[in-house]
C-alpha cells in the first residue's frame, strides 16, 4: 500500500496535523500495522518537497512544533491518478510455491507434502483472520475477507497444480 497516497487522500477532506493524520490512518487502514511517527514525518516532507502538500499553519506551544498540512491541486491530481491506476497482480507467492512443487517432483519427494505443509501454514493465518473477522466491525470483516480469499486462492491453485503435476510426471515417466 502507498502510504503517501493514503495520507494525501486523507488530507483531501481538510487540513490536518501530522499526529491527526497518523490517528486517522491507523483507525482506517492500520489494522495490520500502525504507522510510526517517523514514517508520517518522512512521508510528509517528501510530499512537501514534491509540492503535493503545503504547510498551512504551525502550532507553537510548550511541546515540539506541530505543522498543519493541506493538500495542493497537484496533490489532488496525484490521488486521482493513483485511484484510476489498477494494481499489478502480485504473482511472486505463486512462483515460489510453484517452484517448491516442481522441485519436490524433480527430487522425487512428495508434492502432497508441500501442499499439506503450506495448507497448514495458510490455515494458521486464516484462523487468525477468521477470528478477527468474528470479533470485528464491518471494515475489519471486509479487510479480513480480502486476505482470506487470497490465501484460499493460493491453496486452490497449489492443490490443482500438485494434482496436475502428478499426472504430468506419470506421463513423462511412461
Amino acid at each position: 500500500m502507498s502510504i503517501g497516497h493514503t495520507l494525501l487522500g486523507l488530507l483531501e477532506s481538510g487540513p490536518r496535523h501530522g499526529y491527526d493524520l497518523k490517528r486517522a490512518f491507523d483507525e482506517k487502514f492500520g489494522h495490520d500495522r500502525p504507522l510510526h511517527y517517523g514514517q508520517v514525518y518522512s512521508t510528509m516532507s517528501r510530499l512537501l518537497k514534491n509540492g503535493l502538500v503545503v504547510v498551512d499553519g504551525v502550532e507553537t506551544g510548550g511541546g515540539p512544533e506541530r505543522k498543519r498540512y493541506a493538500i495542493t491541486d497537484d496533490g489532488i491530481t496525484d490521488v486521482q491518478r493513483w485511484l484510476a491506476t489498477p494494481e499489478k497482480p502480485e504473482p511472486y507467492l505463486q512462483s515460489t510455491l510453484y517452484t517448491k512443487v516442481v522441485l519436490a517432483l524433480l527430487t522425487h519427494r512428495d508434492a502432497a507434502d508441500v501442499l499439506d505443509t503450506q495448507r497448514s501454514e495458510h490455515l494458521r493465518s486464516m484462523r487468525i483472520l477468521t477470528d478477527r473477522k468474528r470479533k470485528g466491525d464491518l471494515a475489519d470483516q471486509l479487510i479480513c475477507d480480502h486476505a482470506l480469499f487470497h490465501l484460499e486462492a493460493d491453496l486452490r491453485w497449489l492443490e490443482l497444480t500438485a494434482a496436475r503435476l502428478d499426472k504430468l510426471r506419470e506421463a513423462v515417466a511412461r
Partner: protein, 229 residues
C-alpha cells in the same frame, strides 16, 4: 494401543475396504471435548468413510474406535444406535429435513424419537431455532425455505439433543460464501457454548479456518497436521 489422554473420541489403525477399494488404510483420529477438527483431503480419499466409522454408522474391517472410554466394536447394534441418538448430532451437505414436517417439527424430531413430549420437544427446538436465527420459519415446510435457511434448521436439529459430538460432512457445501460462513459461525459458536466436539469434513480452506486444527486424509491414511509438526 491406548487413545490419547483426554480425548473424547479416537480411532486407531482403521481399515475399511469396499471390494478392491481401500477406503481407509490405517487412518487415525482423535478429538477432545470442545474441539473443532477439520477433516480435509481430496475427493475419494476416505473423509466421509472416516466420519461414518467414527459415528458408528459404518463398521470398519479392523482397528479400534473409542468413545468416552467405550470401544464401539464391543457394543451391540442397538447400543450403538442408542449412543448415536443420545450423544451424537449430524449435519450433511443437504440438510436432509423431513419434507412432510414443519421446520419446528423437524428440529424437535430427535427429541421426540428419544421419547420427549411434543410440547417440551418443540419448546427446546424453538430455543435452538432462535440461536440459529430461523425461529420465524417454524411453521414453514422445508420446501418453502431457502437452502441457507434449511441448512440452519438442520444445524438446529443436530444440536437440539445437546450432543457431545457433532458430525458435519460438508455442511456448507451447497451454500454461497456468505450463507456458508454464517452457518459456520453459528455452528461453531453453538458447539463451543455446549463444549461439544465437532468433526468437520470440508474441502474448503475458508470453512476449515473455523476449526482448531486439521487432519488431512489421503488414500485412506490420515495425517494430523498439528502433531506432525
Amino acid at each position: 494401543m491406548t487413545p490419547p489422554a483426554g480425548s473424547l473420541l479416537s480411532a486407531e489403525q482403521l481399515r475399511k475396504a469396499y471390494g478392491p477399494t481401500a477406503a481407509l488404510d490405517g487412518a487415525e483420529f482423535s478429538i477432545h471435548p470442545g474441539e473443532v477438527v477439520a477433516v480435509m483431503g481430496p475427493s475419494g480419499s476416505g473423509k466421509s468413510t472416516l466420519l461414518h466409522c467414527l459415528a458408528g454408522i459404518v463398521t470398519p474391517d479392523s482397528g479400534t474406535i473409542t468413545y468416552n472410554g467405550h470401544e464401539l466394536s464391543a457394543m451391540s447394534d442397538s447400543q450403538r444406535s442408542a449412543l448415536r441418538r443420545s450423544d451424537f448430532g449430524f449435519v450433511f451437505q443437504f440438510g436432509q429435513l423431513v419434507p412432510e414436517l414443519t421446520c419446528v417439527e423437524n428440529v424437535a424430531l430427535p427429541l421426540r424419537l428419544n421419547g420427549g413430549s411434543r410440547k417440551e420437544a418443540e419448546r427446546a427446538a424453538l430455543t435452538w431455532m432462535e440461536r440459529l436465527e430461523v425461529d420465524d420459519l417454524r411453521k414453514k415446510r422445508p420446501s418453502e425455505v431457502s437452502g441457507g435457511q434449511g441448512q440452519r434448521v438442520a444445524v438446529a436439529r443436530s444440536l437440539v439433543t445437546n450432543p457431545r459430538v457433532l458430525f458435519a460432512d460438508e455442511p456448507t457445501g451447497a451454500l454461497d460464501s456468505l450463507n456458508g460462513e454464517r452457518v459456520m459461525e453459528l455452528l461453531t459458536d453453538a458447539a463451543r457454548s455446549t463444549n461439544a466436539a465437532v468433526v468437520l469434513v470440508t474441502h474448503e480452506a475458508r470453512v476449515a479456518a473455523y476449526s482448531d486444527r486439521e487432519v488431512v486424509v489421503r488414500d485412506g491414511k490420515s495425517r494430523d497436521m498439528e502433531r506432525a509438526v
